[in-house]
Symmetry: none
Amino acid sequence: MLNKAVAEYLRANRPGHVEKLLELLRFASTANNPGACRRCAQWLADYLGELGLSSQVMPTGGKDAVYAASSADPAKPTVLIYGHYDVQPPDPLAEWKSKPFQPVIRDGNIYARGASDDKGQMFAHLMAMEAWARGGGELPVNVKVLIEGEEEVGSPSFEPFVAEHGELLACDAAVISDSAFFAPALPSLLTGLRGLAYVEVTFTGPKADAHSGTYGGLLTNPINALAKLVGALHDADGRVTIPGFYDDVVTIDEAQRRQWAALPFDEAEHAASMGVGALGGGEHGYGPLERCWARPTLDCNGMVGGYTDLGAKTIIPARATAKISMRLVAHQKPAKIVASFRQFVAEHTPPGIRGCLEEHSTARPVLLKADGPAMAAARAALRAAFGAEPVLIGCGASVPVTELIQRLLGVDPAMMGFGLPDDRHHSPNEKFALEHLYKGAEASAMFLDELAARADQLRVAGGA
Amino acid sequence: MLNKAVAEYLRANRPGHVEKLLELLRFASTANNPGACRRCAQWLADYLGELGLSSQVMPTGGKDAVYAASSADPAKPTVLIYGHYDVQPPDPLAEWKSKPFQPVIRDGNIYARGASDDKGQMFAHLMAMEAWARGGGELPVNVKVLIEGEEEVGSPSFEPFVAEHGELLACDAAVISDSAFFAPALPSLLTGLRGLAYVEVTFTGPKADAHSGTYGGLLTNPINALAKLVGALHDADGRVTIPGFYDDVVTIDEAQRRQWAALPFDEAEHAASMGVGALGGGEHGYGPLERCWARPTLDCNGMVGGYTDLGAKTIIPARATAKISMRLVAHQKPAKIVASFRQFVAEHTPPGIRGCLEEHSTARPVLLKADGPAMAAARAALRAAFGAEPVLIGCGASVPVTELIQRLLGVDPAMMGFGLPDDRHHSPNEKFALEHLYKGAEASAMFLDELAARADQLRVAGGA
């Protein structure tokens, strides 16, 4: 049950909070707009300062981060609240009904780029902190706020940043709200995210494009050879054939399998919503959610070679390239997977072709303990705020900071998403429901209280 | 021995002829530039008119053709001289040392797209006709000139055009100069050309690019699926796996095998000249010239799907496309091959993907008689002009009109190429040696004279 004064503060201050969030959404803080990112980070630091926290803009190897902390009471546990202020590019612009950086409210939703991913979800936590500090008298726990500026480009500067500032960021619990409910009215907690290994393979053949009549039967064709390699990466059952690929994969346990199978997921409806006749991806013998959340996958994200304009051109091209990403699950190791892939490429490079593998990026998969105190606090908070029992779900994508917090700070963050599945993250007309902003702030306020109630467990479970 | 006045005329007019050829090469007469094609055709019609022929630009179903004829003397045999003014697209542009449509002369070569394929080779015949008409007094045979504008896209409009204009094009002999010497100083006559079946396969998946984290394991990936199909088109021995593909292939006879084996072909040197370590294309168990001239092949000429710019993007793309051409040999039937391919695509389209096969063009393979009078005239002319005995060779490429002239006009054209093997047809820095332009014109002039000397044999062998 939420502290009455805090609840009343939140209710009374809704219009002012929405105004502030709209201000935050007006910064076009995309990766290619460093000026807007700088102004947005400064705005956040100022705002956190106004809330009574000591705040600062901190340099990283890339875009600035924002850090703020309440005055520390050694009797209270410390929670790290993570969010990110950077947003995806808004294109295709023509498909937006209102301008992406001029937020508007329609039908109970705020429409803007970043409304749900992640400015709105992050802002719910700031509202809760304010309500505790001003309405409730004081924060029930020590709070550290860390707001990143590079999440949408894979957090390239964040591993050294977190490693360097381990003491500053030390905490007993952490929370990340950068995800969504599994379905409307079904609050959800993430227990795992997949990792990533992204490579690019280039096959080089003749020194220049050659006539396919004159040379067809003489030259090894780089596209045909690369297609044969890519085609060989999956067997007939949809399994990845890279030797050792599945060696470190954690088997899905029966309880989890049953729990996921009980989630409201209509395969035919899902396929139709994507415009396909069937969900044919992944390994045979697994359900769709298992394939997406608990099994590794391999997808070619782009491939090009030869003549690709309109009409026909009869050439054997000089080269062909494929961008290939693998989504990894616990406890696959990206470096080991990339090494196996490199060996696979060497073994599938035929005479007349030179093969080359470039590594783009990697991120480790993460599995979160479902029974820790922060998770229990988040579950209680979501249940109380949204009036439904939260479900435990996986996530096929990566949020690199999750694994960094677990590995470098030693706590399993609670992945408590306030978004809805149709919030259109990364797409035109992104939105965030006002109701989810308000209830998200209530959930965050309760989460802090629930953490305080679990201080003893936290001291045992977390901490660096 | 070439008529002295004709030889002197050719020698005296070299600079003017080169100037004219450079003018012709400045037209960017690629398939996707109809304006340049129109202007190029008109330029040719005007030029042929200036030479005293009755000339006209003739509509076809596609790009215009140019037709011209000398005044017909019923006492003389009639020869059809074929050429084409359209050229391959010049890309990749960055690899050209000089601009493809701003011809330059370097080290005795003309560099330009179309220099050798086919504007330069065709122009040698126009020089010869001019030399006979102005230097020699009159042409030794009746001449019909037919210049096509769609050879590089497989002559899609030419079969109905030739069929419709059978009377206009009727002839006793024909010559096509759109090929190359087997080696420097080794003039060559072609006795066969491969045919073509060019198709494009498109695999369509989700209605828009989808997040490869969220959907990896759910959606069938169109690139992976298409790569699997393309990879499956060849077995481990380099044989094409389309059912029935080899059913109608003529077996290479032992005499031909021996003749080709005697040609000066150094496999390692050939590979090195193309910048590859080995000639790995084609079927195992056949020599390189057999694989290229007498065996059918399949090459992917272009493939594209998903994100192909710099860096990484994590998407499952909405579609992927592959352009695939097959070089066919006697007596494969293009329509039958395309039908088998269509069936193959249907059988290799997985759930979650819609497959589509578009047919770009087809050309039948052709085998030419090695002992006809036009072939004898060409052999004598090449020997005299270039000072070496011509060899009989095959050709891996297609010149669709060859088969049309054979089938619809009833004569086996002499395939008398003036190019060199390193002229880089279809590639950046295409060139044509000035010496081959001059000697090609002499060979053409002698060819007309040698045909006149064989008037009686021609009347028996050729004619519709």
